[in-house]
C-alpha cells in the first residue's frame, strides 16, 4: 500500500496544482468580498497540503501491507472492453437510436466478458432493450434518441 499511496498522492498533488493555477486566473476578490476564484483556490491548497501529508506518511511508514497488485493484464482486458463498449455507446447513441444501440451494447457485454450462449445473448439483449424502451419511453415518457432508423 506504501507505493500506491505515494503514487496516488502525487497524482492528487498534480491535480491540486491544476486547480490552483486555474483558480488564479479567476478574480480572487478580497477578504471583504471573496470572488469566484476564492473557494476553488482554497480547495486546491487544501488538497495539495493533504496530498503531501499522505505522501510523507507513506514515505516514512515501515510496515508494508501485502496485497494484490492493482494492475494485471488479464483482468484489465475485460475492463478495457467494457469501457470501450460504453464509450462507443455514448458515441453512437444519437446516430443509431436507442433501440439499436442498446441491443448492440447488451449483445457485446453478454458475449465479450464472460461469454453467454448466443441464444441467451441475443434473446436477452432483445428482451432487455425492448423492456427498457417500454418502461422509459412509453411509460415514463423519457425522450430517448430515435437515430437514423427512426426507432
Amino acid at each position: 500500500m506504501k507505493k500506491y499511496d505515494q503514487l496516488s498522492s502525487l497524482v492528487w498533488l498534480a491535480f491540486a496544482f491544476y486547480i490552483g493555477i486555474e483558480s488564479l486566473r479567476l478574480p480572487l476578490g478580497s477578504w471583504r468580498d471573496p470572488g469566484p476564484g476564492f473557494l476553488p483556490l482554497g480547495a486546491g491548497i487544501g488538497l495539495a497540503i493533504l496530498s503531501l501529508t499522505v505522501f510523507s506518511q507513506a514515505r516514512f511508514r515501515t510496515e508494508e501491507r501485502t496485497r494484490q497488485g492493482w494492475y494485471s493484464q488479464e483482468r484489465w482486458k475485460s475492463l478495457l472492453v467494457i469501457l470501450g463498449v460504453l464509450f462507443g455507446y455514448a458515441l453512437f447513441l444519437d446516430f443509431l437510436g436507442f433501440l439499436v444501440s442498446t441491443f448492440l451494447l447488451l449483445v457485446m457485454l453478454f458475449r465479450l466478458v464472460e461469454p453467454q450462449r448466443w441464444v441467451v445473448a441475443i434473446g436477452g439483449s432483445a428482451l432487455a432493450s425492448i423492456a427498457s424502451y417500454i418502461i422509459f419511453e412509453v411509460w415514463l415518457k423519457t425522450q430517448l434518441p430515435k437515430g437514423i432508423f427512426g426507432i
Binding site: 503514487l7 476564492f38 506518511q57 460504453l86 455514448a90 425522450q143
Partner: protein
C-alpha cells in the same frame, strides 16, 4: 395538540391513492436493489430522479425516500443468506446473521431483522414528529455563518468516521468542493473551469457523477476482483417468526439500536453505515455474553438492523428542516427537491406543509408495507440473488446509461459518467472513499454562498464564525474532530471497519 394535528395531516396526505402507489413502488424497488449487490440505493435514486419530473413533488419524494429505507430492509436479506451485504449498512449484519443461517436459523434472523426495522421505523417517525418542528424554529435564527459552520461540521464528521485514512477522506472533500465550483458562478456570473462547454456551464450534473462513482465503478470493481460468483446458502427457510426467547433477547437491543441509529442519522455526515456499526459495538460491549457475538447471536442482527433503518429515516430531519443533506442519498434528494422548484429549509414546514408531512406520514405506511412485503416475498428475493453476475452487470450498466442520458438528453453527460466510473474504480483500488467527495460536491455551492455572505457581513473578518454562539458551537465541534487524532492519549477514532 399540535402533534396530533400534524399526525392527522401526515396520514391524510400519505394515504392519497397516488402517494400510496408511489410509496409502494419505492419500497418495492428499494428492497429489490437492497437485495442485489452492486446496485445500491444511491445509483437507483439517481437513475429514477429524471422520471419523477412527471409526478408531484410529494409523490416524488415519497418514492425516492421509500427506495432508501426499503434498501435497508433488502440489504439484510443478502447479508444473512449469502454473507454478502446488499449495501454498506448491512455489512455488520453478516457477522451474526450468516452464522444464524448456517445453524439453520435463517428464518428467525430474517424475521427479526424485518421486525427490528419496523420497530425502528416506527420509533423514528414519532421522534421526527417531535423533533422536527422545534428544530425548524431554531433554524430560522440561522444566518450564513451558522449554515457555513454547520456544513463544515457535517463534512468533518463524515471524514472523521471514514473507514480508512482521515487525511484521504479530507482530500476527497477538497476535490468535491472543487467539483462543486465548476460552472457559472452565481454571484459574479463568471464561468469557472467550463472551457466553454455548454454542458459544464450549469455545473457538473449530480446524477452522472454519482452514477459513475457508485454505479459504474462498482461494476468495474466486481469484475476486476472477480467477485462475480457467489453461492446462495441452500437451506429451507421455514418459520420466519422469531420465538418468544428471541424476542426477549432482542427487544432492548432493538430499542437501543433505534435510538442510536436515529441520532447518528440526524448528525450530518453520520448515517446508516455508522449507525449499524455503533449499535453492534454497543450491544457487544454491554452484553453478558460478548463471546456469543459473531457465532449467531440474534441481538447481533436485531440491533444493527434497527439502527440502520432508524438512521435512514432520521437523516430526513436535517434535509427537511435545515436544507442540509446528512448523507449522499439525502444529497440526491436535495437535488430532487430543488428540481421541483422547492427550497428545503426551515420554511419548508410552513410553505410546503404537504411535502413535509406527506413524506413523514409515508415513511410509516412504507414501513408497514415493507413488513408485509418482506416476509412473504423472501423466496422471490432469494431467487433474484441467484441471477448470475455476468447476466446482471450489463443490465446495471444499461440502467446507468439511460439514467445519465435521460436527465438532459445529453450524450456528454453519459461520457462524464463513464469518466467518473473510471475515477471511482481507481479510487476504490487506491482506497479513497467516494462519500466525502459527493457530500462536499453537493454542499460546495451552498457553503460557498454562506462563506461569501458571512465575510461580506463581517467586512472580511473570520471572527464572525466564533463570535456567534451557534456558529461557535458548530465550529468548535468541527475543529475538535479535526485535531483529535493528533492529540496523544485521546481514544483512537472509531472506524467503520472495526467492531466492538
Amino acid at each position: 395538540m399540535e402533534f396530533f394535528a400534524n399526525l392527522h395531516m401526515a396520514f391524510s396526505i400519505a394515504a392519497q391513492p397516488e402517494n400510496l402507489f408511489f410509496c409502494f413502488l419505492g419500497v418495492l424497488i428499494g428492497t429489490l436493489v437492497g437485495v442485489l449487490p452492486g446496485l445500491g440505493p444511491v445509483a437507483t435514486i439517481s437513475l429514477l430522479l429524471p422520471s419523477t419530473f412527471h409526478i408531484t413533488p410529494v409523490a416524488a419524494l415519497i418514492m425516492l425516500g421509500g427506495i432508501f429505507y426499503g434498501a435497508m430492509y433488502g440489504g439484510s436479506t443478502t447479508s444473512i443468506l449469502v454473507n454478502i451485504p446488499g449495501e454498506a449498512a448491512s455489512v455488520v449484519t453478516c457477522l451474526d446473521g450468516y452464522q444464524m443461517a448456517r445453524k439453520g436459523r435463517a428464518g428467525p434472523a430474517l424475521g427479526i431483522s424485518a421486525f427490528g426495522s419496523f420497530i425502528a421505523g416506527t420509533m423514528a417517525v414519532i421522534l421526527i414528529m417531535l423533533i422536527a418542528p422545534p428544530l425548524a424554529n431554531l433554524a430560522l435564527k440561522f444566518g450564513p455563518p451558522e449554515y457555513f459552520t454547520l456544513m463544515f461540521l457535517g463534512l468533518t464528521v463524515l471524514t472523521y468516521l471514514a473507514s480508512g485514512s482521515m487525511v484521504k477522506a479530507l482530500m476527497m472533500a477538497c476535490v468535491g468542493i472543487f467539483l462543486g465550483t465548476i460552472g457559472t458562478d452565481t454571484i459574479s456570473g463568471l464561468e469557472r473551469f467550463t472551457y466553454h462547454s455548454y454542458t459544464l456551464m450549469d455545473g457538473l450534473g449530480l446524477v452522472p457523477v454519482i452514477m459513475g462513482l457508485f454505479g459504474i465503478s462498482e461494476v468495474l470493481f466486481n469484475i476486476d476482483e472477480q467477485a462475480t460468483k457467489r453461492e446462495v446458502f441452500q437451506t429451507r427457510i421455514s418459520n420466519l417468526l422469531p420465538t418468544r426467547e428471541d424476542w426477549r433477547v432482542s427487544l432492548f437491543p432493538m430499542i437501543r439500536g433505534s435510538l442510536i441509529g436515529f441520532f447518528l442519522g440526524i448528525l450530518p455526515g453520520g448515517g446508516a453505515v455508522i449507525a449499524s456499526f455503533g449499535a453492534y459495538a454497543l450491544e457487544k460491549r454491554i452484553s453478558k455474553h460478548p463471546e456469543k457475538f459473531g457465532t449467531g447471536a440474534i441481538e447481533g442482527v436485531a440491533a444493527p438492523e434497527s439502527a440502520n433503518n432508524a438512521a435512514s429515516q432520521g437523516a430526513f430531519i436535517p434535509l427537511l428542516t435545515l436544507g442540509i443533506p446528512a448523507n449522499v442519498v439525502m444529497a440526491i434528494l436535495l437535488g430532487a427537491i430543488l428540481m421541483h422548484g422547492i427550497k428545503p429549509g426551515p420554511l419548508l414546514m410552513k410553505q410546503h406543509a404537504d411535502v413535509f408531512w406527506g413524506v413523514i406520514g409515508s415513511m410509516y405506511i412504507g414501513n408497514v408495507m415493507l413488513l408485509i412485503l418482506n416476509l412473504p416475498l423472501i423466496g422471490i428475493w432469494v431467487r433474484i440473488l441467484k441471477i448470475p453476475y455476468p447476466i446482471l452487470f450489463p443490465l446495471i450498466l444499461l440502467f446507468c446509461l439511460i439514467g445519465s442520458y435521460s436527465l438532459n438528453n445529453n450524450v456528454v453527460e453519459v461520457a462524464i459518467m463513464i469518466l467518473f466510473g473510471i475515477v471511482g474504480f481507481l479510487m476504490k483500488k487506491f482506497e479513497y472513499e467516494g462519500a466525502p467527495m459527493i457530500l462536499a460536491f453537493v454542499l460546495s455551492p451552498l457553503m460557498e454562498n454562506a462563506l461569501r455572505q458571512s465575510l461580506i457581513m463581517s467586512h472580511g473578518s473570520f471572527t464572525i464564525f466564533v463570535t456567534r454562539p451557534i456558529a461557535l458551537f458548530f465550529f468548535a465541534g468541527a475543529i475538535f474532530l479535526l485535531v483529535s487524532p493528533l492529540i496523544p492519549g485521546l481514544k483512537k477514532r472509531p472506524q467503520r471497519g472495526e467492531i466492538g
